[in-house]
């Protein structure tokens, strides 16, 4: 398991460096702007009166932009589920299936490594890589904050990262599970990415249309605190997100235990046969 963990970390090191440095630069820039934004408190309130209500639905925290939690939410945590979601969905959808589709997994699995060790070794590698990216972001908020008036302790800064981490794990494990049941990793990535964006839009729209509220509570992003976790973590929500992620991970592992490892030409399954597809494939036997 450790060999696969190390291998996954080595493979994701480019992603960790790219995302880590990119987000760190962005965060440092945002930290440096905070004191200016905080000073503009009354001006912002005047400005917000002219904002369209649809926009306010998606970025409701803008009303509190001159507070630390509002500022963190609007400039980082509000949309980081989608931004970092691109990384996690891509990484998880191809965590095992990517190698399978390239034919690499065939040889790897011919070595004395169990499917369980391979699965959890790689998943642990992904979880660690995600944690490293978030850790770099967190440090980028914490270290320069003293000089910008963002008067939060390092623990307060850490709090909103936990729900973000849990959401990323949840969507990552969904992508992983779908990669085990859908015909290709790309399809799993696209489906999960679609679900993530749809959820994000639904949350914004529910702030405008109250009829959507009952639906929203069944979606993962409803339980995402964003920057407001600075004021206090909802541990129940966090535990719930982690528990659901664990369930998806176990389901993906269960599926991986039982499925054939595909190689080119050896019949990865297709979408259910539609009438015209069935006709085309009729009588095939080799």
């Amino acid at each position: 398991m450790f060999a696969e963990f190390k291998h996954t970390m080595r493979r994701l090191r480019g992603q960790m460096i790219g995302w880590g440095i990119g987000l760190a630069l962005y965060v440092v820039l945002m930290v440096s702007f905070y004191s200016s934004v905080a000073r503009m408190g009354n001006l912002y309130e005047e400005l917000l009166k002219f904002y369209p209500k649809e926009m306010m639905g998606f970025f409701s925290s803008i009303r509190e932009i001159n507070t630390p939690q509002g500022y963190l939410d609007i400039y980082y945590f509000n949309y980081m589920t989608v931004i970092l979601g691109i990384f996690v969905v891509g990484a998880c959808a191809s965590l095992l299936v990517g190698d399978e589709e390239k034919g690499v997994l065939d040889l790897v699995m011919a070595h004395p490594v169990s499917r369980t060790a391979l699965f959890w070794g790689r998943l642990l590698g992904f979880v660690t890589a995600t944690a490293v990216i978030l850790l770099v972001s967190w440090l980028s908020w914490v270290i320069p904050s003293g000089r910008s008036g963002l008067e939060l302790t390092w623990i307060k800064f850490l709090q909103p990262f936990l729900p973000l981490f849990a959401e990323l794990l949840l969507f990552g494990t969904v992508a992983l599970l779908l990669s085990m049941v859908l015909p290709s990793g790309r399809m799993a990535g696209m489906t999960t990415g679609g679900l993530l964006i749809a959820n994000y839009l639904l949350i914004g729209l529910a702030n405008i249309n109250q009829d959507l509220k009952p639906i929203v509570k069944y979606t993962p992003l409803h339980y995402y605190q964003g920057g407001y976790a600075v004021s206090g973590l909802k541990w129940g929500w966090l535990a719930g997100l982690l528990a659901v992620s664990a369930i998806f991970a176990v389901l993906a592992w269960w599926r991986f235990q039982r499925r054939d490892i595909r190689v080119g030409g050896e019949g990865g399954w297709r979408l259910p046969a539609l009438p015209f597809r069935r006709r085309a494939g009729a009588g095939r036997e080799a």
Binding site: H7, P112, V113, D260, G264, E266
Partner: protein
């Protein structure tokens, strides 16, 4: 299962949706032998090998590899096995050495790195380049090295010389014979008949997911249809020859020479010829390739 048996399948079946890849494969390979698994593309060779390693799960039948059920304990089977896939794919961003070290890590660093260097030298492989910069033949060499480097008890090789030049093919044959001499069992698939004829001590021919023949290459040749030219000292009536079981007259030339086809043993024909004044006698010995094709043609006719 006897301890002398390296691998055994009974009634092995595997389907991919409607495609029946294996329809009841029965195989038995003894320890220490080089066993050739012959068949054209799509016959079920790769599927059989992948069932042996629990990479795919059979729909029915029994599999034992080195006495172990691969589904019950795949790690134990793989620890004692070296595998070379038919469609070898390696992580293209690794160097040759990086890939070999990674595979060695998966094996708990059990390979003797001195032996790895010997293999690399004999196959004229450079350890430094990235996999993505290697030719197909050089990638295949990496595959051969990783299969052999931990000195496995059983080698499962799917088309082992695919993409190698003739010199390297012969070097691989030498390596496999050396592995066998050290006690390993070699099970390899191929659609190259000359390779099987050169290397294998026993051969199984698979066709559409069923073993149609299993024997030593020389037995296959002796069991096959042969053509016989007989020249007589004087004109004779060859009718009595065609009455021998398995003998068919193909052509005759003024009753002085006959061209016969013999199916099965030669004994009956030779005894019948004793009554004739024979001046010359020639048997066309078929190659394994002709036998292989004969199996396929005869089965096709049966199906028609």
């Amino acid at each position: 299962m006897s301890e002398k048996v390296a691998l055994m399948t009974q009634g092995l079946m595997k389907s991919y949706g409607k495609v029946r890849a294996l329809r009841g494969v029965d195989l038995e390979v003894q320890r220490g032998e080089i066993f050739g698994y012959l068949g054209p593309n799509g016959a079920g060779k790769t599927t059989t090998i992948r069932c042996l390693l629990d990479l795919i799960r059979p729909d029915g039948g029994t599999v034992r590899v080195l006495g172990i059920d691969p589904q019950a304990d795949p790690v134990a089977v793989r620890a004692r096995t070296g595998y070379l896939p038919g469609e070898l794919a390696l992580d293209s961003n690794m160097t040759v050495e990086g890939a070999l070290r990674y595979f060695n890590t998966l094996r708990g660093n059990k390979a003797d790195w001195g032996f790895v260097h010997q293999l690399v030298e004999r196959l004229q492989l450079d350890l430094k380049p990235h996999i993505k910069n290697l030719s197909h033949g050089n990638k295949q060499k990496v595959g051969v090295v990783q299969a052999l480097m931990h000195r496995p008890e059983l080698l499962l090789l799917d088309e082992p010389t695919l993409g190698l030049d003739p010199l390297m093919q012969h070097e691989v044959y030498h390596l496999l014979r050396e592995a066998r001499a050290d006690g390993a069992t070699v099970f390899f698939s191929s659609h190259i008949i000359s390779e099987v004829e050169t290397l294998a001590e026993r051969v199984a021919i698979i066709r559409q997911g069923v073993i149609v023949e299993e024997a030593e290459p020389s037995q296959l040749v002796s069991m096959a249809i042969r053509r016989v030219w007989v020249r007589f000292k004087e004109a004779v009536d060859p009718t009595s020859l065609t009455e021998v079981e398995g003998v068919t007259l193909l052509s005759k030339s003024n009753n002085i020479a006959v061209h016969l086809q013999v199916e099965g043993e030669m004994d009956g024909l030779i005894k019948a010829l004793a009554a004739f004044p024979v001046s010359d006698f020639e048997i066309e010995r078929p190659s394994l390739e002709e036998i292989f094709l004969a199996y396929y043609e005869s089965n096709d006719k049966e199906e028609d």
